[in-house]
Amino acid sequence: MAIVCIAMSRALWTIATMGAALSGILGVGAASAAMAAETSGCVTCHLDEAMLVKNLGGATAKKSAMQSGAG
């Protein structure tokens, strides 16, 4: 999994770099921002529910068991 992630990371880095270069050539600020978001690794992972389930399984809220009553 880690290898896959690293490989994906490099691929995304390449895409992101190319995107940045392209936006520089075209000089279109908004378009470059949109591309940055869409090609971002953040978006890739945070659209992948299965991956999030795997990575966040067992995550629990930080709330003391001693808390009681209306807040």
């Binding site: 990371s9 995304l12 971002s40 659209l47 529910e49 009553g69």
Partner: protein
Amino acid sequence: MAPLEPQEKVLLSKGFLATTHGALACESCHGGDPASMLKATAHAGFDPVPSVKNPQKACGDCHGEIVATAKDSVHATLSTFSRVLASRASKDGWGHVDEARKNHCAACHTSCGGCHVSRPQFAQKGFIQGHVFQKRSDPINQCTACHGSRVGSEFFGERGQGDVHAARAMDCVACHPAREMHAAAPRDLPGRYQLGELARCTDCHKDLQHGSVRDHVIHIGKVQCQVCHSQTYVNCYGCHVGKDAEGTAFFQNRREVEALKIGLNHEARAPGSGDRYRLVRHVPSFPEMFDFYGKDLFTSFGAVPTWKRASPHNIQRRTWQAATCNNCHGNRSLFLASADLLDFEKQANRNVVVPDGKVPRPVKKTRTLAIDTSRVRTSMVVDARWLHENLGRKNVVVVDARDRAAYDKGHIDGAISLDPLTSGLRTGGDTEKPFVLVGHTEVAGILGRAGLAADDHIVVYDQSGLTALALLAVLEWAGATHVSYLDGGIEGWHAAGFHASDVPSSREARAFTGTIQPRFVVSSEALAKLLGKPNVVVLDARAIHRILGETRHEKASRAGAIPGSINLPLGALLMDNGALKSPAELLWMLRTRGITPDRTVVTTCDTGLAAADAFFLLRYLGFPDVRVHDEAWVNWSRTR
């Protein structure tokens, strides 16, 4: 508010990418490394809630004018908390008090994101629409996620009838617009009610003093609107704070009391606050509340009242205290008295207490309400004193309808445990037809094995009324001939000075030979045929957000309500601790909704539980023809 799974909290929607905010690079707001696909490195330097720490950087580039004031708003700074605490604290102790404030009180503050994109931090965070930003805050997932107990519960009818504004589908922003929410709080603002931009009833309800409502003309300027238009609300006592063994901060609010109290206005100079009388709510402060951080920190505890100005969000056009003049005038119990104060707070509330001479005198000529209480079946409700005197009498059987853990912690001596939610009286949530009564034979078997006979005098209690009343409804349906509800439940028992036992009790199995009362239960099919008949009224006992379709039960196939049903949330019929309002008040309230004893009343809800509770209470009030829609909305929504 349904909890979110961890992945749900951070799952983006594709729709977000098509929005203006979705076009921004994630790291421009949140930091982190978007080029990394490893969780740890991708999140290095990542800030999940950037607008909390630096709203100017996160939001100010585009929304500079808003951020300029919103960063200093009451929501962002909770500055009035600091001001109140500082006025009570000793100079030397302020450091400890401020540490406690940061660890506990300040956990409630929020910033741009908590109102416009995710649930606030205090409510465990999480996107509410896949990170899509909303101009208008979400009442369920945002506003009442924090303002839950005192505002949300009362607004949506989880306590009381709910608020008329909620029933008209008005959301929080309808009264509390950006002008107020984004307003900067002046540094010396003594309390949130002094904010100049605060919403006021008269922003919409204008020129009341010259209107056609006589009571407005008489009372306006003397009495805060809520005094006449609010219902009972929760008062809190004894908030202890500390940190557990793992260092996680906690609070324990030790006592909550549903009541309504009128106090004197001691802040007549505050904007829009010239009334003589206003509602006051007990706040959970007490001198030792921050003892975890240091002793004797509040040397000036009496500087600020603990009965604080209140604006309950449970407005009704007609309320019991205003139903007739003398429900309020001369009613000493409505007005805060010295006897209502605890020893440590007498000084703090000296200007809030209403002396006898300032309680408005009874009015000689006033209309009567003509409420007929002669049909009330008084034997269906007993109080703690009666039960204490009759414990151990032959055929008096006491049943604790709470869950087993609560029973084991302490119960009325001799009571047996029978939790209607887990004892097999109803089908499970994952069955083909969830949450309906099982067959009469099975029910009779369960009751008999618990040691109950149909001709016993069965007294049932619990913590809030919810399960006890439902069990009583089942007992009536199964043919028990003499059943009673313990008014006020276990809390009322303790309040009357009676002790609990931790020794479990059981009874020998008996034959429960009651005759089933099929007329008490109506199926969805039968209910559909009754709809629209003029002598039939369907009482939906759910909270308002269910009726409006803003939320739904997880087992329902859709949100909504049965056509033509009348909403009266169960919380209107009984208090938080399971105590009942007077029969006259209940009958009056039902009458205001068109629910009168001359009609056939069918009670419904999501799962049949609240419907069963309402069924028993209406039977107690003397309604001759009451029926439970046991299949309730969960099953109705699946088939119709």
